[in-house]
């Protein structure tokens, strides 16, 4: 894996993508928890 390549995205692209996906996961878990405990109304 060319982690040490010179460009910003070559070095940080993977952790940024992983972090973004983790944020989406946390958001979806939060919504699901809100639905489960009744804080978020669902149909």
């Amino acid at each position: 894996m060319a982690r040490s390549s010179g460009s910003f995205w070559g070095r940080w692209g993977v952790p940024i993508v992983l972090g973004a996906l983790a944020l989406v996961m946390i958001g979806l878990v939060a919504v699901a928890l809100g639905v489960a405990v009744g804080w978020i109304p669902w149909r």
Binding site: P15, L18, A36
Partner: protein, 236 residues
């Protein structure tokens, strides 16, 4: 509406070879994680097939299969496969599997005892948009799905992201890094679509499922790709 009817057929067409590929890998290599992924993917495929069927005709058993396997259980069983792959203490993985199996049996019981209203079914309308009218309001089985899906999200997506991070840190197998990213993205696509469905926006579910099936299959193929063989030594 025509596209909405086609999407579940496409998802089923993607899921069938995906299930076969995972089953073949299990038969070659064994491993509880592969077996559980195969079970989870088979549930996903059954859910897609049930959607395709319900786009054309009503059947209460197909509806129950759709809700139980397609909406409630498949993510959690896929995630359980990842638990077996990543958790080193087997006793923990076994205990979680027992809880998941008992919870799944309870959800199946609730689904089987849920009265359905066939008169509320409209052919040609996506089942994700009309299932609320077919099931009673606040049906107990619907209370269970967020718990299965939270477990599935955390284990399947969290496990794929964790694996991708470890592989990236080690600077080995870039194909596996990308494969795990695709698996995580696919699982998030269907999770987001399921969440929107829960909030009353069912029109995105079929697209999310097709995206999930395609991304996860591509991710699986990439992650299990054999590394390129080292070049043969040159003879002088």
């Amino acid at each position: 509406m025509f596209v909405q009817q086609i999407l579940p057929f496409l998802s089923t067409a993607v899921m069938a070879p995906f299930v076969v590929a995972v089953a073949r890998r299990y038969l070659e290599r064994r491993g509880a994680h592969l077996l559980l992924w195969g079970i989870g993917l088979a549930m996903f495929g059954l859910g897609s097939f049930a959607e395709a069927y319900l786009a054309l005709a009503w059947n209460p058993w197909i509806f129950r299969i759709w809700y139980l396997f397609g909406a409630a259980l498949n993510a959690a069983w896929l995630g359980q496969g990842t638990v077996y792959l990543l958790v080193r203490r087997r006793a923990v993985a076994h205990a979680l599997l027992v809880v998941l199996a008992l919870g799944s049996l309870f959800a199946a019981y609730l689904m089987l005892t849920t009265p359905l209203d066939p008169a509320a079914y409209t052919p040609g309308r996506p089942i994700s948009e009309q299932y609320r009218e077919i099931m009673p309001p606040r049906a107990p089985v619907r209370m269970t799905t967020p718990f299965f899906n939270i477990y599935g999200l955390l284990t399947l997506v969290g496990g794929a992201l964790y694996s991708a991070y470890l592989l990236w840190r080690r600077q080995t197998f870039p194909n596996r890094v990308l494969g795990n990213v695709l698996i995580a993205a696919g699982a998030l696509a269907v999770a987001a679509a399921s969440t929107l469905t829960r909030l009353g926006l069912g029109q995105f579910l079929y697209l999310g499922e097709l995206a999930a099936a395609t991304l996860m299959f591509a991710g699986f193929l990439l992650a299990t790709q054999r590394p390129a063989a080292a070049p043969a030594p040159q003879r002088p």
